[in-house]
């Protein structure tokens, strides 16, 4: 952990505020934004580590967006960084919901809002797809990794297996394949 000055804390806050404000449709919709802001633009964290952070944020209880922002914030600036990143990601939805609650704004039956959000989901499909390919190229480097990625995809899409279960099985497989193999070589 590096020491964070105020300017960098502010940058961290702004990055997560933007991520929070434009993440529509839950946890995974924020992955392309995190990848762009945290890995690509600021180069705060590498591709491998961001994938680790996403896996852990999935496997512990709580909101995935909050888990991963706390993790990234903590890595970059300790406790203060964690608080700042979490505040950044929470504040946009906090403000928007307060406005909706106060105005009793009926956004539910508005046809244009519904169309806009269907459009966003189609766009997010493309964004997540590109991110999956990009991260996949960086991560999947041997046959075991390719098999694990494919099997987890099938398990989740077709069999509705819980993410935590596939992640645990992946960890065990990783230890059996890479850990023991390396121990034999040594």
């Amino acid at each position: 952990m590096e020491k964070l000055d105020l300017k960098r804390l502010w940058k961290l806050f702004l990055a997560f505020f933007r991520i929070g404000a434009f993440t529509i449709g839950g946890g995974y919709a924020m992955v392309p934004l995190i990848e762009k802001e945290v890995v690509d633009n600021q180069k705060w964290i590498g591709q491998e580590e961001i994938v680790d952070i996403l896996a852990i944020s999935q496997s512990v209880p709580g909101v995935i967006a909050i888990n991963s922002s706390i993790f990234i914030g903590y890595r970059l600036g300790g406790m203060l960084g964690a608080v700042v990143a979490a505040l950044g990601v929470i504040l946009p939805s906090f403000i928007i919901i307060l406005i909706i609650a106060f105005l009793m704004f009926s956004i539910r039956d508005n046809i244009y809002i519904e169309k806009a959000f269907t459009g966003v989901r189609a766009g997010v499909t493309a964004l997540i797809g590109l991110t999956a390919v990009k991260l996949g190229k960086a991560i999947v480097k041997d046959k075991v990794a390719a098999a694990l990625a494919l099997l987890s995809f099938v398990a989740i899409v077709l069999f509705d297996v819980h993410a935590m279960i596939v992640i645990t099985l992946g960890g065990i497989t990783g230890y059996l394949v890479y850990g023991i193999r390396r121990a034999k070589e040594l």
Partner: protein
């Protein structure tokens, strides 16, 4: 005291719901109903609104329930409650990982977990496509029927939305070829949605 009740209820929601998003709905509903904070119909509205506003469902629900029962301070306590378990858990895990960075077990396990995460992110592509570009029943039973030769029954239920496919292609090209920023891409998708859907 209402503030502490809100804090504690949402603390429990944050601590015991795995998987985020919709996995949290039953737990949130139980807490809200056992306190009589909100009717079921109003909670259904929050879920609908959450789908149409940015941010995590649990934060939206905490903010909404909080402000309805105890004003802005109530929403602050509820939101704090839902986030605090994450703070505690993530910081313990982060420290654990920093401490065992050189451990062979941790490293090899992470090497197996990384491709799984790629599978998870790829499955999200299908789920988002299934909420916009097409609607297909992807459950095992439905696929089994397809392989059993019931093509007609399977494809009867398939719906396809060309407008959404167009947006998907436009955004794909704009981001891949022209390096459009994802935030701009989300905003453009919304505008394109109003025009083409």
């Amino acid at each position: 005291m209402i503030y502490l009740q809100l804090f504690w209820s949402f603390f429990k929601i944050g601590a015991f719901s795995f998987g985020g998003g919709y996995a949290m709905i039953p737990l949130i509903q139980k807490e809200i109903q056992s306190h009589g904070w909100m009717e079921a119909k109003e909670f259904a509205d929050i879920v609908a609104v959450s789908q149409m506003t940015p941010g995590p469902l649990a934060v939206n629900a905490a903010t909404y329930v909080g402000v309805k029962t105890a004003g802005v301070l109530g929403s602050a306590f509820a939101t704090l409650g839902v986030s605090l378990p994450s703070f505690i858990l993530i910081i313990i895990i982060a420290n654990f990982l920093i401490k065992f960075k050189e451990s062979r077990i941790v490293n090899s396990a992470l090497k197996g977990i990384r491709p799984i995460t790629i599978g998870l992110i790829s499955s999200a592509v299908i789920f988002f496509a299934n909420m916009s570009i097409f609607t297909i029943d992807l459950s095992f039973n439905s696929i089994k029927r397809l392989f059993g030769g019931e093509f007609a029954g399977f494809f009867q239920k398939v719906q396809f939305y060309p407008g959404a496919l167009l947006i998907f292609v436009v955004i794909l090209v704009a981001v891949k070829k022209f390096k459009m920023h994802p935030i701009l891409a989300v905003a453009c998708s919304a505008v394109l949605g109003i025009i083409f859907i």
